[in-house]
């Protein structure tokens, strides 16, 4: 049982960076976060998926930047003073930036307080989540970075296309 008041729970403590997209909160495992930078001029790359916004220069490296909102099929980003780009180290060590509305805070969660999300969960954005964490402030959806890899996003796109064609026929 996930008893929140149980201070003796023996799970692993993991820190998450909590970001906001509109009204929703998402957590990213802090171990994979390389850097958080302010919104800056993004160089557009032609002929790529709409959610790839372009590339930016991070300490001399060219880093692709994607819109987390567009990946999750929300509205286009509205740039404000709070907009940030979270630079995440993906598997294989390459860097990818995600545009988010706001970086809220850092949250430490006991792994016992994170409920795993199964594949095919019909929860909103379920396909991008590895779990849902509970804390005093409410619920936070933990992002599964593997599903945000370019390759898996492309795989998803192809699936969609197939389905669309099937529906049209």
């Amino acid at each position: 049982m996930n008893d929140l008041s149980d201070k003796e729970s023996l799970g692993e403590l993991i820190q998450y960076i909590v970001i906001r997209l509109g009204e929703e909160q998402f957590g990213i495992d802090i171990r994979y976060v390389d850097n958080i930078v302010r919104m800056q001029q993004i160089t557009r790359v032609p002929k790529v998926q709409h959610y790839i916004k372009g590339v930016i220069n991070i300490r001399g490296d060219i880093v692709p930047v994607m819109s987390l909102r567009l990946i999750m099929e929300m509205n286009e980003d509205e740039l404000t003073g709070k907009t940030r780009i979270i630079i995440v180290k993906m598997s294989g060590g390459s860097l990818v930036g995600f545009i988010v509305d706001q970086v809220a805070h850092v949250l430490t969660l006991d792994s016992n307080n994170v409920e795993n999300v199964r594949r095919g969960d019909d929860r909103r954005h379920g396909e991008f989540l590895s779990g849902v964490g509970k804390y005093e402030g409410g619920l936070v959806s933990i992002l599964d970075l593997n599903t945000l890899e370019l390759e898996s996003l492309e795989g998803r796109d192809r699936e969609r296309e197939k389905q669309l064609i099937a529906v049209n026929e």
Binding site: Q41, T43, R44, V45, P46, K47, V48, Q49, I52, V55, I56, N57, G60, D61, I62, V63, P64, S94, L95, V96, L150
Partner: protein, 707 residues
């Protein structure tokens, strides 16, 4: 000992030695009596063995040792070089190369002992008596008797009495005797618990060399160095000192169990005649004795060896976590000196700039002056760093003569390889990558290009096929031409095949130019060879060559004439990291176009545009040049009004050319190419990116993909 840090050096040097061995054995095949060559081979084999031993690669050491033995016999004139032996030696080199590759991949030499090759090498050595001496049967008998003799006397008396020195040792002993020096034989027994037997033996030798000379030893000094002896070894000492002194010196070395020493009489060693024949046999004897060593004596030795192996395993395992071996470039010290100088100048320039900027009345003039200075320093610095990265292509081409020789034998076609321009320099990354494509083209020439000898003679060509590789620098490019004087490409056959494979339709085939049809060869899964052979024609080939060369920003072209041969032309940029580019604006965005693909920049009025097959073209001094509107390709809105004159950058791709319509020109800039990482294959027009002075990114256009 943790030897991981030396692994890079070891691999580099091993490759160098193996290459040297390859070259020299090839030379030896041509001239089996070349003594310099034999010595060179022996030295290389010896260093290789030593290095492998130091690094704890026992199997590699063992194999090299057997190879070295063969050379040692050749050098001593006991063995004649022949074709079979050369083949075995090449096999052995291939096996050694296998070890080196495995080590560089996994930091471990693997478990393959290549016993077959070792046996073959031994067979070459033992076969020497039969093949060499005329009365083979006769020579055999006394040899056996001698070895049986040696075995017996070992049991009955001190081993040194049965030493059979070779001819040169015999001569020097004779000479020393005439000079009135004392000649002693000695057998040294080492304690069973001793771990570093070779080191103890070495100390014995070293001590004795201070008072005289060790004329001969059994086992040979080489075997003793390699710890190829049981617990005792014997030798003949020539000295002016007394027997007691000799004994004292030997006993002075620790872990020596006992020493048996006495005056040595040469005449006891048997008559000159069979002594000579017996010598090599006696040398070999301890090796076999070692194998059959009594279990008790072998136990500690085996234990020690096991310890060694464990140690080797440990040192092998430690770096296994990060199997990537640092890639190295050997740098001429002069080049480094130049770099050092430039860096000091850079610091001076920086300091002058600081002082110019902080001086109270900076008039701007001196700052500009310093910036100019800084610019010249950085340009020179760039050039020098590039030079450091440049290596001659011979590091890949030197493997080819051996390859053609092997193909010669396996295909049964006499062929000759001519290479020029192996000293042409290219960036290390390019040189590393270009080996495989070149090898493929050469194999292609050997397999498909050159006809069988009979066919050649019938066509009035010399029987021996000519294959060539010419490399030369052409401006900012390096051109490598690979070709043959074989049958050339049969365009009709290629067309038929293309239709057969469904790559083109028959109608398309009719309409295609000869050049376009030859271009089909670069299609994946295209192989015109009737029989798929081991050498080439597995269907993966030319398409791989093409994609590899293109990934290096180069291009492949082919010139062919039926019946006269074909030439493949690879054109590569000298360096990849920094290029000169034309910076342009399209739809408000900045792009870089590599300067070496640009032919000319034209100002074109919209009225000059004609439509051909619904495509925009211009007539550029007589040649019809298609226009590509970059704003469309890049999906942006052009900032220029429709009716204004257009700036058109004329680029070339091979022999084609096209005009890229841009909005405005910014100017020429030296840019550092950065990879686009995961995005690089998402947009094929973009070959990379660069960071501009203000930190912004500009994308680099791949004109080859656009045209």
């Amino acid at each position: 000992m943790d030897v991981g840090q030396y692994l890079g050096v070891f691999l580099d040097e091993s490759k160098e030695h193996l290459q040297g061995l390859n070259d020299n054995i090839m030379a030896l095949e041509q001239d089996p009596a070349d003594e310099n060559c034999i010595n060179e081979i022996f030295r290389a084999a010896h260093s290789l063995k030593g290095m492998a031993g130091t690094m704890g690669f026992k199997r590699m050491q063992e194999l090299t040792h057997h190879m070295e033995d063969v050379f040692s016999d050749v050098r001593a004139g006991q063995l004649k070089v022949n074709g079979d032996m050369i083949d075995q030696l090449f096999k052995c080199l291939d096996a050694l190369e296998g070890y080196v590759t495995l080590i560089s991949d996994t930091q471990d030499e693997g478990t393959d002992e290549h016993q077959d090759i070792i046996d073959a090498l031994n067979a070459i050595r033992t076969g020497k008596a039969a093949g060499d001496a005329a009365p083979a049967a006769q020579a055999d008998a006394p040899e056996e008797a001698a070895s049986a003799d040696a075995g017996k006397s070992e049991e009955s008396g001190p081993a040194w009495k049965s030493i059979k020195p070779d001819k040169s040792a015999r001569e020097s002993i004779e000479e020393a005797k005439n000079e009135g020096k004392n000649i002693f034989g000695a057998t040294v027994n080492i304690q069973e618990s001793c771990i570093l037997k070779a080191a103890r033996a070495f100390l014995v030798f070293k001590g004795l060399e201070e008072i005289g000379e060790v004329a001969f030893s059994d086992p040979s000094t080489q075997d003793i160095e390699d710890e190829k002896f049981d617990l005792s070894f014997s030798m003949i000492i020539v000295t002016e000192e007394s027997k007691e002194k000799v004994e004292e010196i030997i006993n002075h070395v620790s872990e020596i169990e006992s020493v048996d020493c006495g005056p040595y009489d040469l005449s006891l060693a048997g008559s000159e005649g069979d002594g000579d024949a017996a010598a090599p046999k006696a040398e070999e004897k301890p090796a076999t004795a070692e194998v059959a060593a009594p279990a008790a004596a072998a136990a500690p030795a085996a234990e020690a060896q096991a310890k060694n192996e464990k140690g080797a395993e440990k040192s092998g395992k430690k770096p296994a976590g990060k199997p990537a071996i640092a890639r190295t470039v050997r740098v001429d010290i002069d080049k480094l000196d130049v770099l050092m100088n430039l860096v000091s100048e850079l610091i001076i320039a920086k300091n002058s700039l600081i002082s110019a900027a902080t001086s109270e009345k900076s008039d701007g003039g001196s700052v500009n002056e310093q910036i100019e200075y800084l610019e010249s320093v950085t340009t020179n610095l760039h050039e020098s760093v590039m030079k450091v990265r440049m290596v001659p292509i011979d590091s890949v081409t030197q493997k080819f003569p051996r390859m053609i020789r092997d193909l010669n034998r396996s295909l049964g076609k006499p062929m000759e390889l001519t290479m020029t321009g192996e000293d042409t320099e290219m960036d290390r990354t390019v040189v590393d990558e270009i080996g495989d494509p070149l090898m493929h083209l050469l194999r292609n020439s050997a397999d498909h290009g050159i006809e069988p000898p009979a066919e050649r003679v019938a066509a009035g060509k010399p029987e021996t096929g000519q294959i060539f590789l010419h490399a030369y620098q052409d401006g900012n490019n390096v051109v490598i031409e690979v070709g043959d004087d074989g049958k050339g490409i049969d365009v009709e056959a290629v067309k038929r095949k293309g239709i057969e494979r469904g790559i083109i339709t028959p109608e398309q085939g009719e309409a295609m130019s000869e050049k376009a049809i030859i271009g089909l060869l670069f299609n994946a899964g295209f192989s015109t060879a009737k029989v798929v052979s081991e050498i080439s024609g597995r269907g993966v080939g030319l398409d791989v060559v093409k994609s590899k060369v293109e990934s290096l920003n180069g291009e492949v072209d082919v010139r062919t004439k039926l019946g006269e041969g074909s030439t493949w032309i690879i054109r590569l940029p000298v360096t990849m990291a920094i290029i000169q580019a034309l910076m342009v604006k399209v739809g408000g965005e900045t792009y870089a176009i590599p300067l070496d693909s640009i032919q000319i920049i034209e100002d074109v009025s919209p009225s000059e545009i004609k439509l051909v097959q619904n495509k925009e073209v211009i007539n550029l001094r007589g040649s019809v040049t298609p226009l590509i509107r970059l704003s469309k390709s890049l999906e942006v809105e052009s900032t220029q009004p429709e009716d204004a004159n257009m700036v058109v950058v004329i680029v070339k791709k091979g022999e084609q050319q096209a005009g890229l319509v841009i909005d405005e020109m910014i100017g020429q800039l030296e840019i550092v190419i950065k990879p686009l990482g995961k995005l690089s294959n998402k947009c094929k027009f973009i070959s990379g990116a660069t960071i501009l002075g203000d930190g912004e990114i500009a994308l680099i256009l791949d004109t080859n993909a656009l045209v």
